[in-house]
């Protein structure tokens, strides 16, 4: 049996194939049905952009150009307060470091309280967990704003915001790490007649410490990134300098600071990737 060439395929061929395998021939409706999700998505985007007044982007061209020009053309560079800018950057790093440190210390305690295999009182554990859910549910920036209201402008509010949101996330991760440990090692320590604190020190800590350290390092990285924008609500660091300059229409300085922030963020990404690779490499050698 040979096949008829494509060009010589007659309607009769097509009809007989259609009769033998009706499913292989898409009806118009089934073809159209494939495109419905795409069409709905496109229509939705168009409608919502219209609702969000997309036309404003087209009207704004003059301001866009003015802004872009100011971003690129830097004037009076010798009058810029470089010291203030770099103090802001170091403040950002300091906030991230302190916030993560406090968050880690707090999570060490709360993590054990929220772990099923350590915390025998179910009610207390549930309370701790719901509390952590609330801490996590509110964004770091909102915490920043709240603490600015409570303790005033400055890095203290930023440190507290990082601390609180880390407490929510790290405690959950820590408690999960604690719940996933090997029971046998703990039994072994308990069998020596050790007290509850000694059981935690020798049974749990050696198993969970590596996980804790790597999580905290990862959080240090992500907090440095988020700390750059905490200042936008007044919680100290470089973000505060950005928003001040922005309000004062010093766009060339804003561009300079933003560039610095981007370099900082990329540098941190790179550094933390190196540190993680180094840590993995060392473990691999062992």
């Amino acid at each position: 049996m040979t096949t008829a060439a494509f060009d010589t395929l007659t309607d009769a061929h097509v009809e007989s194939a259609r009769r033998a395998h009706p499913g292989a021939f898409a009806s118009r409706w089934s073809t159209a049905k494939r495109f419905i999700p795409l069409a709905v998505a496109i229509l939705y985007v168009i409608a919502s952009l219209w609702y969000f007044e997309f036309g404003r982007l087209l009207d704004a061209s003059e301001r866009v150009w003015a802004l872009l020009r100011n971003f690129v053309v830097w004037r009076d560079m010798d009058t810029w307060a470089y010291r203030q800018i770099y103090v802001g950057i170091s403040q950002t790093l300091a906030m991230a470091f302190l916030g993560t440190l406090l968050g880690t210390l707090g999570s060490l305690v709360v993590g054990f309280l929220a772990a099923k295999n350590v915390m025998p009182f179910g009610i207390l554990r549930q309370i701790v967990r719901r509390f952590l859910d609330i801490l996590r549910g509110i964004d770091q920036l909102v915490w920043g704003l709240v603490f600015v209201r409570a303790v005033g402008l400055g890095p203290l509010a930023g440190v507290l915001a990082i601390f609180v949101s880390d407490l929510g996330t790290l405690s959950k991760l820590y408690s999960e790490a604690i719940e996933n440990i090997d029971r046998k090692q703990v039994e072994g320590i308990r069998a020596t007649g050790a007290g509850p604190l000694a059981v935690i020190r020798y049974g749990y800590v050696p198993q969970v410490l590596p996980v804790f350290i790597s999580q905290s390092l990862y959080f240090l990285e992500s907090n440095t990134r988020s700390a750059t924008i905490l200042g936008i609500v007044g919680a100290g660091g470089i973000g505060m300098i950005i928003i001040e300059r922005f309000r004062a229409s010093l766009y060339d300085q804003v561009a300079f600071v933003v560039l610095n922030v981007l370099v900082l963020i990329f540098a941190i990404d790179w550094l933390s990737k190196r540190v993680r690779l180094w840590a993995i490499g060392e473990q691999g050698e062992r």
Binding site: F97, F147, L156
Partner: protein
């Protein structure tokens, strides 16, 4: 390790006292501990320097903390509503006034909030769709195995990195300046950030896709877009979908705060109530935001699981 057992094995076999073995072991242990101690001290010193610098730079002194903490609790005291059990579920009275102490009184502006939350979700949906579309298109030239040439690969990679690197809220700030206060600025900012973040993930998925179907389509005379559409997309579509859904969850959170710089959504109201009032309105909005984020997370998780479940059949 082996030299310990060797040097220890000889004397033992001769019936002599095993002091050599203990000696060697002790020497090794001492050397190991010394080197370990060196590293520990080094790490501690670095840590202490970092800590000291941080405390100094951010003025994080005990007295400031001590004076700050009571104020925190004071503040949290003020944002709690004064609810009264007796009137908790009272509606509005004949004049249309709510009874103090009732939930209706606490949530007087509920419909304003509801409308803003609706706007927040719309913002997140639009931004996710636009960002996903951009990420989808860019992820193929940004995958090393699919990029038509190294120039296009390099440019699309760098472009995605920049999109991802700029924090959303900074982008929103710029957009607010350019096009004015309103949700459009937020949508654009989140969409750009989404394009960068998803584009990178998508490109990684593409790089893990099997090259065989692509080769098959190349061999029938397919163009580059055809190789992508037939050879790659069917392989990666399920992963793309679940990444996009996860991003939608993240974007709901982002659009709920992006209003802090005037870029629309409930964040604008949240910023207003926190900055200008310190009463129960703060908590009212906060509760709504947390509820929204939680509900969206749960729903999106359901959809993802159902979709993946169906895919695995």
């Amino acid at each position: 390790m082996s030299d310990i057992s060797l040097s220890g094995g000889g004397p033992l076999a001769n019936g002599a006292a095993p002091t050599d073995a203990v000696d060697t072991f002790e020497r090794h242990r001492a050397a190991l501990r010394a080197s370990k101690r060196g590293w520990t001290i080094f790490a501690l010193v670095v840590f202490a320097i970092c800590l000291g610098l941080s405390i100094w730079i951010s003025n994080f002194y005990p007295e400031r903390l001590a004076s700050g903490i009571p104020r925190i609790f004071e503040y949290f005291g003020t944002i709690f509503p004064e609810l009264q059990w007796a009137n908790l579920f009272e509606g509005r009275d004949a004049d249309g006034r709510a009874v103090p102490g009732s939930i209706t009184y606490w949530y007087t502006d509920f419909w304003t909030y509801a409308q803003l939350i609706w706007e927040t979700i719309l913002m997140a949906m639009t931004a996710t769709l636009i960002g996903t579309a951009m990420a989808f298109v860019l992820s193929f030239p940004a995958a090393i195995n699919l990029a038509p040439n190294s120039w296009i690969y390099w440019i699309s990679r760098r472009f995605l990195e920049v999109c991802r690197g700029i924090p959303e809220i900074l982008l929103a700030l710029v957009f607010v300046f350019m096009i004015g206060i309103g949700p459009l600025a937020g949508v654009l900012a989140i969409a750009i950030h989404t394009a960068g973040a998803l584009g990178k993930l998508f490109a990684e998925v593409n790089e893990n896709a099997s090259a065989r179907p692509v080769e098959g389509i190349a061999a029938v005379g397919g163009t580059w877009p055809e190789k992508i559409a037939y050879g790659v997309v069917p392989q990666v579509a399920p992963n793309f979908f679940s990444y996009a859904m996860l991003r939608f969850e993240i974007n709901v959170r982002a659009s709920s705060i992006i209003g802090f710089v005037g870029a629309g959504g409930i964040g604008q109201e949240l910023n207003r109530v926190i900055s200008f009032y310190s009463d129960d309105r703060v908590l009212a909005v906060l509760i709504l935001v947390v509820l929204t984020v939680t509900v969206i997370d749960l729903m999106s998780e359901r959809i993802r699981h159902r979709f993946i479940g169906r895919e695995n059949l």
